[in-house]
Subunit: 125 residues, 2 copies
């Protein structure tokens, strides 16, 4: 299916006890205070017109960083990435959690209407 | 010291045996083939005017993702981030390896002349 996608977010995942320090540090480090988002496990700030930095509170697991790909067609993008060697492992809200060939988690997220217009998003036939 | 900084790269670190698959996957995933760079442990591609995706071959350790901050003054940026709670753990080439409060590694890298001009880089007094 014709659609578009772009890497648009870096997500820092940390357990609850480290959340406040991590949100404060990355707000100071980037100069953009990370605000609470509608999904309460996330804090975030826009760093550039096409890059957002998020900190997510993890229920369990070690701290890590993951990539988010935004797309105007999650199903088509998941199918395309699966054919390239990724594996879908979960669906949360309107995004898919996948693992790349090295086992690293990343997410494929539904873009807001118009979000990818005028960006360097790649168009897939 | 007055200087500027911006999150400009996402770096995927993988052990050698997984390198080729990871470079191929992320090239296909983004639509930008990851080319070998002057430091031979790196492959990379520019995804947007201010975001590069790199895959680094690790000598050891588990796969992970880390953030690079580019700056026109590495020493000043390292000092600023240290004051915010990060720790410098190594110097490699012209960049510093640091850890954030959750222990996640990230790098502070010397920007090329003019690289940060006209970007959303934050200016620090």
């Amino acid at each position: 299916m014709p659609h578009r996608s772009l890497v648009t977010a870096i997500v820092i995942d940390v357990p609850g006890p480290q959340l406040a320090d991590e949100v404060a540090f990355w707000g100071g480090a980037t100069g953009h205070q990370l605000a609470g988002l509608s999904h309460p496990e996330y804090h975030g700030a826009r760093l550039t017109p096409t890059l957002v930095l998020l900190v997510q509170e993890l229920g369990s697991g070690a701290p890590r960083v993951h990539i988010d790909i935004h797309t105007d067609d999650v199903a088509a993008e998941v199918a395309r990435l699966t054919a390239l060697g990724a594996e879908e492992v979960d669906r949360v809200h309107d995004w898919a959690v996948m693992r790349d060939p090295a086992g690293l988690p990343f997410c494929v997220v539904q873009a807001r209407p118009g979000e990818l217009d005028g960006t360097a998003a790649t168009a897939w036939p």
